[in-house]
Symmetry: C2
Subunit: 395 residues, 2 copies
């Protein structure tokens, strides 16, 4: 195991109808908040009303930042920062999915920057030194943003989608109410499950294995539970058990637990996907889904076939009797067919991404990689090779 | 899944030679500390010198509370509180095993009580409202005290060994350096592995199953890794990988992760063991080891045979084809033989506890249970029945 630091101070309030308590929790943190929301679904399904009634009842005044889109934009972050400063707000609250939570974090950090611009923190030119308290109420099980210090924002001027992280943007409280995800449509439920699994897969395939049985064991347990609960949510969208397990699974998938101790690792699939969604505006989970089987094949050929095989044994209980090559092929096939079974793309053709675009996507990914960090194996040629493997896959 | 709150703010610094950085970390928390140690082993193996050199170098002055024994005593806690108050110390540091860490926590809480006595918090008569910062440097992988808010202290006047818990006694920093455990003797290494597994087993067998695939999956992964790394430590006491995995596994086994969401649960095996070790001063892990097989048999007969079977399938990969009764018997047998293989007792005869003592042990456990809380199934008769099953077991 590699040396590591682990410090995740987020307070999780998890359970049925916990959203009704949000106002009480926020009132302990601030008297005034910026209330970040997305494209309006929380207003249609009543979640917004429940939250603001709670805030009002507990004497917390709020100003809304609405209309945060998926693949959230830097301009929206700046709008939020302006409101916070103008109104002198004390905290930032997110009610929505990963985009809304990430925007809230960026606003919380940007509002306290005395000089410079929040985008400089994504470019690695400035460090985040402080942030307003962030409270999240996730309405989608996917990003894990509710229990980590990361955020991903797209600069629409240059179509760069970049991540930044800081201990200062860990939410102080996240209220996880599985019932809030009852109305998430089937496709986004599935994309969320894939996103969470990808968060587990990337450190698993880039770690200091074989000395990490703890991280591996937790990963197997979480991946299995996420597969099972994604299936169960799609079968019955209002199954509390299924929604609860998918929600908690997605949270634990990227809260640092499975990363701690695995050594240096990168998120190459996420990085390539960020280019894909910045340039083609595909949903993040759908992009990951279209990339994962082809990337796994590349990793089996160029990285470790044994590790892919081990994943198949750990998650699908494959018989270790086969050769690593056979087990790797079977693992990728089983995983691809699962993606198909939950209505997710298993290649880029299903997202209508032409092969002619691969060079541009790889180019964009290289710019990101230079800033964000990526294993040196990932040259532009390698990324094009991975994209080519993802182009069209028969399963 | 049941509703839950999860908030574990402990900062973990994990890795090789991290003990050398302890002084730096402590200096960010306090200028003066009470330095709690055990019966002298940290002085023989040089750990104490490394720690105090770090404190001295970073300008942290310290006063020692030495001689903390296993099954730590209330009188020692009171001695620590007196020193802290007299010297006006700002924090409490533990360098040692679970007993030392638990004593440090009790001192940290007791020192800030304006009235009343720290024992009242163990009796449930007073609430812990504040505590000095606690820093731990564990030298044994076992209790998990380094990443939780619990402590167990024995009142030698009435031989009651009781637990107390509070968010205030979570360590602010715990420095986990696996090399510090190289000199732990084989028997205590094994007891530590059993203690950690017992921390995982008790919520597993008392939870809101079957709706907890996440907690179950993490439990299987951790139990497997702890079994594997305990074996590896016994084979090679200075294997860094083995010591690191056992250490991190034991920490995660009782940091709230596998308890969150499983609903109301108790720690009956721990409770009965506390009576055993309070009355007979056996090492805590040895006591648990002697109780677990018999308790599992009782649970299979009186609780859920299916759940024991599921544990066997999840941890040992038993074929689900058998009946639950068959699988439960096999699970208990495999587990008992593992205890035997690592030199741990699998019945009370191996601890020389006479059958004539069962009633007294059960009586003591009932007093504890009335204070600490235990499932209403556990009457005195039931506990005697469990102890009788533990008396002598052929495996």
């Amino acid at each position: 195991m590699d040396n590591f630091e682990f410090h995740n101070p987020v307070k999780i309030i998890f359970g049925r109808r916990k959203v009704a308590e949000a106002g009480v929790h926020v009132s302990r943190v601030a008297r005034t908040v910026l209330l970040c929301t997305g494209m309006g679904s929380v207003k249609k399904n009543g979640i917004f009303d429940t939250v603001v009634q709670g805030l009002d009842r507990n004497g917390v005044s709020w100003v809304e930042l609405e209309g945060i889109q998926s693949n959230p934009l830097l301009s929206k972050v700046r709008e939020g920062i302006e409101i916070v400063r103008r109104e002198g707000l004390e905290a930032v609250m997110a009610v929505g999915g990963g985009s809304v939570m990430d925007t809230a974090k960026a606003v919380a950090a940007g509002s306290l920057m005395e000089r410079g611009d929040i985008w400089d923190c994504f470019l690695g030119k400035e460090e985040i030194k402080d942030a307003l308290p962030v409270v999240t109420v996730p309405t989608l099980a996917a990003s894990g943003s509710e229990m980590n210090g990361f955020m991903v924002i797209t600069n629409e001027k240059n179509m760069l989608k970049l991540a930044a992280g800081s201990p200062h943007v860990y939410p102080v409280i996240s209220i996880l109410d599985p019932e809030l995800t009852y109305t998430v449509p089937a496709n986004y439920t599935a994309y969320g499950g894939v996103d969470a699994i990808c968060h587990l897969l990337e450190p698993f395939f880039n770690g200091s294995w074989p000395d990490t049985p703890i991280q591996d064991g937790i990963t197997y347990g979480l991946v299995k539970a996420i597969i099972q609960s994604t299936d169960a949510c799609l079968k019955s969208s209002q199954s509390y058990t299924a929604r609860a397990n998918l929600m908690w699974g997605a949270t634990l998938a990227l809260n640092g637990l499975t990363k701690a101790g695995v050594g240096q690792h990168f998120f190459p699939v996420h990085l390539i996907e960020h280019s894909l969604s910045a340039l083609y505006h595909v949903p993040h989970g759908a992009g990951l889904s279209a990339l994962l089987p082809g990337w796994m094949e590349w990793y089996a050929d160029s990285g470790s076939r044994e590790r892919i095989a081990e994943f198949g044994c750990g998650v699908y209980g494959l018989d270790k009797g086969g050769t690593d090559a056979e087990l790797a092929v079977r693992t990728i096939l089983i995983f691809s067919r699962w993606l198909k079974s939950i209505g997710c793309p298993w290649d880029l053709a299903h997202l209508s991404i032409p092969v002619s675009a691969h060079a541009d996507i790889a180019e964009n990914a290289m710019v990101q990689g230079a800033i964000w960090g990526i294993d040196q194996d990932y040259t532009k040629e390698v990324i094009v090779n991975i994209l080519d493997r993802c182009a069209r896959r028969d399963i």
